[in-house]
Symmetry: D2
């Protein structure tokens, strides 16, 4: 069903497998004239690279994006923009054995079944988190587009941060802390506890889940295309499609289940809203307030503990996955969440132009 494209006006198509020659993305619908350089892509990719922290994967990809079409004299041309990222630090040997069975929590079983054994199984192949590097590259382009769209109040900005790792939740929000934080956490005290917890998990050969929060600011009112392409529905679609994401909520989210209308409604005065329980959308269209979403991220499925599973040949086996794995995937998913948000917003900002300047 051609599931490798997302977006209707700003449309991206990703390709490539974890241990093939390269991964990449084609962006169709990027307007001409946007300044863009390989460095812009690389700066974004840098954010997704594993930190040097002890709990991160030791796979080290240079992750240099090479723009191979759609650019001329440092600006987009309006033609399809393609970014390729070579797969350099491949250790196919590590994965040879894992190709023979279904790793619990991974997509090995479902890919094998769906593609009838023809899928590339090395390191998860197409289902690997490696594919998300393409999304980050496309997100960097979407961001540049929105930053250079001048009759747009050029002020849309967004970021995601870690609000929970295991049992540790953040209590304070200091935005500046996010950027210097190895866990992209806005609460330094909480971050220390999170790091300690992650190190304990690593020592135990285990992994740990968490939660991220996405905040979009400076968004104009009016984005969203009901009744199906609502802004919140499309963000949910884009973000639920990121590997390891198990839930999304907007505004007060699941907490609304316990609330009364008089508590939850955002009243208005002086042409603006008096609160933001809705999280920045009404009827699936942006209100102009900030958009707030939370995203549940499961623990990395690759763990250094004995697990029961089934070999492709059919017999029951016990496995123990060694290799290069993140103990907690949250900090590395954050740039992917940001990228999917930029990509989705680019689609809606461009869509919004269709009906403007008419009449």
């Amino acid at each position: 069903m051609c599931g490798n494209s997302i977006g209707k006006i700003f449309k991206i198509t990703t390709f490539g497998e974890s241990h093939g020659n390269a991964v990449g993305v084609v962006i169709d619908g990027c307007p001409p004239g946007i300044p863009l350089a390989d460095e812009t892509i690389d700066t974004a990719l840098e954010k997704r690279r594993p930190s040097n922290a002890v709990f991160s994967t030791s796979r080290r990809e240079a992750d240099r994006g090479r723009i191979i079409s759609g650019i001329f004299n440092g600006r987009t041309t309006g033609a399809p923009l393609t970014v390729m990222i070579e797969n350099a630090d491949m250790s196919p040997k590590d994965y040879e054995k894992t190709s023979e069975y279904f790793r619990p929590g991974h997509a090995d079983f479902t890919y094998h079944h769906k593609y009838r054994g023809f899928n590339d199984p090395r390191g998860g192949g197409r289902s690997s988190g490696r594919e998300t590097v393409c999304r980050v590259a496309a997100g960097a382009v979407a961001r540049e587009l929105l930053m250079n769209t001048h009759n747009q109040p050029a002020s849309i900005d967004l970021f995601a941060h870690s609000v929970q790792i295991g049992s540790v939740k953040t209590n304070v929000f200091e935005k500046s802390a996010v950027y210097s934080s190895v866990l992209k956490c806005a609460d330094k005290t909480a971050e220390e506890k999170m790091i300690k917890l992650i190190e304990e998990c690593k020592a135990a050969g285990d992994s740990i889940g968490g939660m991220a929060e996405l905040i979009i600011t400076g968004i104009p009112a009016g984005l969203g295309e009901p009744v199906f392409d609502k802004l919140d529905a499309r963000l949910a679609y884009a973000i639920m499609g990121i590997p390891a994401v198990k839930g999304v909520e907007i505004g007060d989210g699941f907490a609304v289940s316990g609330k009364m209308g008089s508590e939850n409604n955002d009243q208005m005065a002086d042409k603006s809203f008096l609160s933001n329980h809705a999280g920045g959308t009404l009827g699936g269209i942006s209100t102009g307030q900030q958009i707030v979403m939370r995203i549940a991220v499961k623990p990395t499925p690759s763990i250094n503990k004995t697990q029961r599973t089934v070999a492709k040949s059919g017999e029951n086996i016990e496995i123990n996955i060694s290799g290069r794995h993140d103990v907690c995937i949250v900090p590395r998913i954050i740039p992917v969440i940001e990228a999917m948000a930029w990509i989705t917003l680019a689609d809606f900002v461009l869509a919004d132009r269709i009906h403007n300047n008419l009449l």
Copy 2:
């Protein structure tokens, strides 16, 4: 951006406003030969109609679906299938006043802004829950399609039920109780408390939120189209687009944030899974286990309490919405959740056929 269609292979387009002449849906991609009668549609619509319970809206639509194309001799023809539902019990008078200001928690402000004042404001117009009757009609067609698809193990089934209303949560699950329950609740004891709570809210002129759970059984392994059209991502998209939904999660959902990999991974033995924390998908493809999702539903925004808001003319006002409103929208959203799930599944089941029987 043409946001009124959903689905790629089994594609539906809804049209119509709350207080126009009719609402309806065109389904393109329905295969020929599926037995279908107006009664099948009507049975589904019946499930969405307000109960006679004191806390339900008193708007009484006959809600008869009339199939006006795509059917011949009681079977689908393969041509676009259109269902129209007349709007009979309109009380435009009730809504004349509400057209002059932005009702808190409704989409009045965002529609007015986006469509520059040209939208039909009566009763919310296009943003009204009235539109969801079209989705239920299309869901009934999708259900018939899947029920009549015989080299599909004709056993896909699904239902949603209320698991929380305000502070009251269900503790037991007795499936048979759902169908006879006015709140579509599987726990009779909990339901009594829920009804009491709803009646209290009604007496206070207030409304109350809740949570629904969707369970899909009998689904074959292999449905889902990575990397963007994952089954869970597409279900999230379809369900987040239902009015009043503020969050979706699959399997253990947000609880994964506090879990370790060793707890969360679903190990395997004897060619099957030993648990279902994932909720029925891995890598966005169905595992063959049951799919379990939970959906957060906000309290009805129309409340009989004084609220501050802004008139379209700009001044601050205080309003008090009387009229015909559900105190708790959960039981009426449940058939809409079911419909969106059927529609989404029909798309993926048909998509799955593309690559089968090759080679």
Copy 3:
């Protein structure tokens, strides 16, 4: 494959069969604020109705379009716009017999095969020219949109006319003659011969083919979306999909096969083109010159002559189709060609706005 929609930004979906209750069209993507009334649709439909000429079908449909959604206070709302046209003058009796065999030149055989006998066969069902009334209604909406798009030089206009009927070709072009002409012919002398020829065909129980020419004026440079959604490619797609069309060409068309580059190139001076052999596009993008296309229209397949064919039951039979048929379909296809051109242009004009006003 959901083949009943066309357009990406201004998207129409038609539904309905020749002898069902109604036919109709849903338009998604129509901007808000366009003035529109049932009368606008009806005026367009009127152009498609059979003339009173002796050689026209005697089926008499009132063909009143009823706008049932997407309009409020006489203007479009931005919601899906639906037009329904009742099927009034049905003579299912006439068609009962023809449902039992495959009429030569009609789609009876292919529909029966493709839809495995489930298609509505009455009067051709979905394949009937009756469906084109929906296109004309949508074309009227597209035309209003373009006429009311004011930062578009509101000067796009278009018309089609008959340039050949059987062996008779036009020699002079007097535009004013087209509107008063029963055959939509710009050459009164030729038209007289054409009418005579058509009458002879009718007397012989036969039918006759012809050719139409489409001329689009006032089109801005820059419309078209290479490399696949070129303006000429999309016009060809839209027009080849009209029943009875067997060929399309643009500019010098098939005559280029015999020409040299020095003859065919359109040279430039003083910032404009010195000729228009290309027919108004280069590289699939409008040049700003007028667009000229010619369209081959086959003779009506229903003829009052003995023909050999096969019954659905399998045996060889001889038939003779009596009933209400146009002898020459060209004049009735002309408004459909115009409609498909308006619909296609609306799509490209709206698409063009996406990348304007950026930077």
Copy 4:
């Protein structure tokens, strides 16, 4: 409007410019398990390469396709299949001067206007025929898919051949002659005259147009998705989008304008058709007969003759294009026509599976 993809089920997206680093194509929707090697692509690309004939361009690209994703162990995996073709023999110097003005008959003017001067102008950039190498690569994949689809009567085959160059038309059809012919011509006597004509044009610094014919054999009845995605309409769309194509017709094509129904109808007996004036489709669905289309190809616009044009700076100039150009583009467009036909057929063959095996 994202015009760089074509197909709905078997969807290709091309990227790259004439003088960038590479061109390429991503194919989404290719089923898993199809045997495929770089050599298969290269064999197809070889057919598109200029001949050594004196009248061909002297640009010599190695044109090796490198499959960089979607393949494992020599078979497709079901993931996006990407083919890259490096641009090796670039002579950007040749094109520096031509970037300063609008070459008559090329897309320079329209691209410059549409993309507001940001397009890559070197050698036509995105509008260059160079892009068609990507289509040929994708066509090779589509062909392999159809050849390896075994419950399809694996007998679909197709080819195109030259039927006219300038004033010289073919009179005899000897299929075996096509493959050995430098002009892909089935009439050796005619070909000699064609070559002579082309050489005369070359000597005169001029170019010459022509006509190709596409013949598809072994196609099953039932392909095509009315009412807009008719098989003939989609073939017209795919082929009119090839650079230099100015017209398409199917079956008797424009000749129907002069014919009567009794001549044009294909009567039936013994469950098959007695003639094929329709060219293999009825109502836009394949009849099972062979499909016959003719395509008008304009003369190469680059000619070695003085032409008037306008510089980007605005002044009138006279130019004379030297460089490496084909005198007649027909033989090099033929593999592109074949590729677009394979791509279109793959889409419809896969679409056809959706509704099969139901009920």
